[in-house]
C-alpha cells in the first residue's frame, strides 16, 4: 500500500537529511570553539524535524482515511442498491474490504463484489493524497531544520530536549498501563453492576452465571464460593506447603550451607519459579490429582472428583516455595550480623540463635514476603484452571472440587461469547476484585519491607 511505502520514503529522507545537515555543519567549522554543537547533532536535529512532523501527519491520516474511504464508497452509484439493514451492510462492507486486499478471499454476499472496485479506487485516491501530504510535511520540516544550521545554533540542546521527551514518554507508559487496567476494569465492571447489585455479588453464596433462569439475576451471581475457593487454595493450602518449606530452605541456605553448596542449590531452587504455570497445571492434572483421588477413594469417599482443591493447592504451594524462600533469604540477610554474634557469644547454638533471635528479628520481612506470595497465589490461573474444577463449592473439604476467581474469569471469557451479557461482564467484576485485593497486599507488603529495611540501616 502506498501509505506503507511513504513511511520508508520518510525514513530515507530522514537519513538524507542527517547527512546533509551534518555535511553543511562541517563546512561551518572553522576551528576550535567556532561552533556550539558537533556536526552530528545538527544531523540529528535535522532528522528529527523531518521525521517527527511527518510521522504525526502519517498517524493522523491513517486514522481518518478509513472514514473518508467509507464516505466515498457510499457516495458511489454502485452502493445505491445495497440493503439498508446495518447488520448485513456491515458484513458486506467488511467482505468487500477483504476482497479488495485479497481477490482470492471468499465472499458470502454477492453484493460485496460490486463494492470492490469503488473501494479500490477510493483507497488509491486517498492513499495518494495522504502520501503526498506526508511527503510535503516531511520536506517542509526538513527545509525548516536546514535553515537553522548555523555555527552558534544549539543543536545539541534541542536534540537532548527531544531525547528527554522520549524518556519521559516511556516512563509515562507505566502510568498509562495502570490507568488502562483500572479504567477498563472499572468501566466493564460498571456495566455488570448495572444488571447485578454489587452487594449481591460480594455477599451471595450461589454462583451459576450460565443459568438464565430464576426470578432474580442477582441470585445467580453470588461470588462468595469463588472468593472462598481462591482463599482456600491460594492462601491456605498453598501456604501450608510453601511457608515451612520455603522458610526452612532459606534458613538452611543462609545459615548452614557452605558457599559452594549455596551456589548450586539456590539456582536449582529458582528453577522451580521459572517453570511455566501451564506445566505445573499439567503436572497437577496428570499426576497429583489422580493420586489424591485414589487417596480419597481409599479413605472411603464416594465418587471423589479428579479435580480437587488439594491438588491445585499443593502444586501451587510448590511453585511458590522459591518465592517465599527468596523473600525470607532477603529478610534474614537484612538482620545485622551483630545480632547473631551477640547471641552466639552468649553460648547459644546456631539453631537457638536462628529460632530465638534471627527469625523474630526478620519477622516483618518474612510476613511481607508471605503477603506477596499470597498475592501471587491468588492471581495464579493455569494451575487452578487445569486442576481445581468449575464447581462453585462452599466447602472446607480439601478433597472437594472447588473453583476460584481466576478460573471463572477464564471460564466466562473463552469460547463463544456475546460480549455485553452479564455472564461475560462478570469476568471484569471478578478481575476488579482480584486487582484490588492483590494491589492492597502488594502495597502493604512493600511498605512493611521498606520500614523493615530502614530499621536496620
Amino acid at each position: 500500500m502506498i501509505l506503507t511505502g511513504v513511511l520508508l520514503a520518510v525514513f530515507g529522507l530522514g537519513l538524507v537529511g542527517w547527512f546533509a545537515a551534518r555535511g553543511r555543519a562541517r563546512l561551518l567549522y572553522t576551528g576550535r570553539g567556532s561552533m556550539h554543537s558537533m556536526p552530528a547533532y545538527h544531523g540529528w536535529h535535522m532528522a528529527l524535524w523531518i521525521l517527527v512532523p511527518a510521522l504525526l501527519a502519517w498517524g493522523v491520516w491513517s486514522a481518518i482515511m478509513p472514514g473518508l474511504v467509507e464516505g466515498a464508497v457510499f457516495a458511489d452509484p454502485a452502493a445505491a442498491s445495497l440493503p439498508t439493514d446495518p447488520m448485513t451492510l456491515g458484513a458486506i462492507v467488511s467482505e468487500a474490504h477483504n476482497l479488495a486486499s485479497d481477490p482470492s478471499a471468499t465472499a458470502f454476499n454477492p453484493e460485496a463484489r460490486v463494492l470492490v472496485e469503488p473501494i479500490r479506487a477510493a483507497q488509491a485516491r486517498f492513499g495518494l493524497i495522504g502520501a503526498l501530504l506526508v511527503m510535503v510535511v516531511a520536506i517542509a520540516g526538513g527545509g525548516y531544520g536546514f535553515t537553522r544550521i548555523r555555527a552558534d545554533f544549539r543543536a545539541r540542546t534541542q536534540v537532548e530536549r527531544a531525547v528527554m521527551a522520549l524518556l519521559l514518554a516511556a516512563s509515562l507508559m507505566a502510568v498509562l498501563t495502570t490507568f488502562g487496567i483500572v479504567g477498563s476494569l472499572v468501566f466493564e465492571a460498571g456495566l455488570f453492576f448495572k444488571d447485578v447489585s454489587p452487594i449481591a455479588f460480594l455477599t451471595g453464596t450461589h454462583w451459576s452465571p450460565a443459568s438464565t433462569m430464576g426470578a432474580n439475576i442477582n441470585d445467580n451471581f453470588g461470588a462468595v464460593p469463588l472468593f472462598w475457593g481462591t482463599i482456600y487454595i491460594g492462601a491456605i493450602i498453598a501456604m501450608i506447603v510453601a511457608i515451612p518449606l520455603g522458610l526452612m530452605s532459606a534458613v538452611y541456605l543462609t545459615q548452614y550451607a557452605s558457599g559452594a553448596m549455596r551456589k548450586w542449590l539456590k539456582p536449582m531452587l529458582e528453577i522451580l519459579a521459572g517453570i511455566p504455570t501451564v506445566v505445573y497445571g499439567y503436572f497437577a492434572a496428570l499426576t497429583v490429582a489422580p493420586m489424591i483421588r485414589d487417596f480419597a477413594a481409599s479413605m472411603g469417599m464416594q465418587n471423589p472428583s479428579t479435580e480437587s482443591a488439594l491438588a491445585a493447592g499443593l502444586v501451587m504451594g510448590v511453585m511458590i516455595i522459591p518465592f517465599v524462600s527468596s523473600m525470607a533469604d532477603d529478610a534474614l540477610a537484612a538482620v545485622p550480623r551483630a545480632m547473631s554474634d551477640g547471641s552466639l557469644a552468649l553460648g547459644s547454638t546456631k539453631s537457638e540463635t536462628i529460632k530465638k533471635v534471627l527469625l523474630p528479628a526478620a519477622l516483618p520481612g518474612i510476613v511481607a514476603g508471605v503477603m506477596l506470595a499470597i498475592s501471587r497465589a491468588i492471581g495464579e490461573t493455569m494451575i487452578v484452571v487445569m486442576a481445581a474444577g468449575a464447581a462453585a463449592n462452599l466447602s472446607a473439604n480439601p478433597l472437594a472440587s472447588m473453583t476460584t476467581v481466576t478460573y471463572q474469569i477464564v471460564q466466562m471469557l473463552t469460547g463463544d461469547q456475546e460480549f455485553n451479557s452479564p455472564k461475560t461482564l462478570s469476568a471484569f467484576a471478578l478481575g476488579l476484585v482480584l486487582f484490588v485485593v492483590t494491589l492492597i497486599l502488594n502495597i502493604v507488603a512493600l511498605r512493611v519491607v521498606k520500614r523493615f529495611r530502614e530499621a536496620y540501616e
Binding site: G347, T349, P360
Partner: protein, 253 residues
C-alpha cells in the same frame, strides 16, 4: 592475687590463605583488666575472637596453636563451643541488643543454658545482672520496653548485663566504647573497673588513653604479632620495644 585464667601458646590465625595472627603467646590473669592495643588491622580483634571461638562462625577461618582456659584446651574436640562461650562472654563494638524487651535480652542467656528454673529465679538473675551493669535503677520500671529503645550507652550496658547474666568467667570486650559519646564512655569505663573484681576482663581498644585508664596490663599488637606485653604503667611510660614507643607517641596508628 593474680592467677592465670587464659593461656595462649603459639597461636596462628588464618583467613583462607591469609595469615592474620602470627605466633602469639600470652597469659591473661584473673581479677584484672587486660587491654589489647594497636593500629587498626593489627589483629587485636581477631585474636580476641579466638579466645571464645567466635572465629568459628566465619567461614574459612582457622586457628593453630593452643589456647587454655584453666588449663583446658578450648580448641580440643571435647570442648563444646556453646559451653565455652557461656564461660567466656563477649561485648561487641556496636551495642547489639536483640529486638526484644529489656528483660528478655538479659534473660535469654540464662534461659538457653538452663540457669534458673523458676520465674522468680529468672527475675532475680536479671535484676542482679542489671544491677551489676549499673542499669537497674534506670530501667527497673520499664523492663518490658524494647531493648533497642534505650540510648546507645544504655544499650551497651544492657549488652554487658546480658553477658554477665550467664555468670561467665571471662568477659571479652571488642572496642565497647567506640560507638558511644564521652559521657557514656566514662560510665562504661567505671563499670569495667567494678567488674574486674568478679571476672577476668580483656578489652580491645584503639584509644591509648582508655587502655591507660582502665587496664592493669597492656598488650601491643602490630601486623598480627604481639610486640610487647606488660604492666600498663610500664608500657606507657617505659616501653621496651621501639615499635611500641613509636605507637604510644603517635608516630603511626
Amino acid at each position: 592475687m593474680t592467677d592465670t585464667k587464659l593461656t595462649a601458646r603459639n597461636v596462628d590465625v588464618f583467613y583462607g590463605q591469609k595469615k592474620a595472627i602470627n605466633d602469639v603467646s600470652i597469659d591473661i590473669d584473673n581479677g584484672i583488666v587486660t587491654a589489647f592495643i594497636g593500629p587498626s588491622g593489627c589483629g587485636k580483634s581477631t585474636f580476641l575472637r579466638t579466645l571464645n571461638r567466635m572465629n568459628d562462625t566465619i567461614a574459612g577461618a582457622r586457628v593453630d596453636g593452643e589456647i587454655l582456659l584453666d588449663g583446658e584446651n578450648i580448641y580440643a574436640a571435647s570442648m563444646d563451643p556453646v559451653a565455652l562461650r557461656a564461660r567466656v562472654g563477649m561485648v561487641f563494638q556496636k551495642p547489639n541488643p536483640f529486638p526484644k524487651s529489656i528483660f528478655e535480652n538479659v534473660a535469654y542467656g540464662p534461659r538457653i543454658h538452663g540457669l534458673g528454673s523458676s520465674k522468680a529465679d529468672m527475675e532475680q538473675i536479671v535484676e542482679r545482672a542489671l544491677t551489676k551493669a549499673g542499669l537497674w535503677e534506670e530501667v527497673k520500671d520499664r523492663l518490658t520496653d524494647a531493648g533497642t529503645a534505650l540510648s546507645g550507652g544504655q544499650q551497651q550496658r544492657l549488652c554487658i548485663a546480658r553477658a554477665i547474666a550467664v555468670s561467665p568467667e571471662v568477659i571479652l570486650m571488642d572496642e565497647p566504647c567506640s560507638a558511644l559519646d564521652p559521657i557514656a564512655t566514662a560510665r562504661i569505663e567505671e563499670l569495667i573497673d567494678e567488674l574486674k573484681e568478679s571476672f577476668a576482663i580483656v578489652i580491645v581498644t584503639h584509644s591509648m588513653q582508655q587502655a591507660a585508664r582502665v587496664s592493669q596490663r597492656t598488650a601491643f599488637f602490630h601486623l598480627g604479632s604481639l610486640v610487647e606485653y606488660g604492666e600498663t604503667d610500664q608500657i606507657f611510660t617505659n616501653p621496651r620495644e621501639v615499635r611500641t614507643k613509636d605507637y604510644i607517641t603517635g608516630r603511626y596508628g
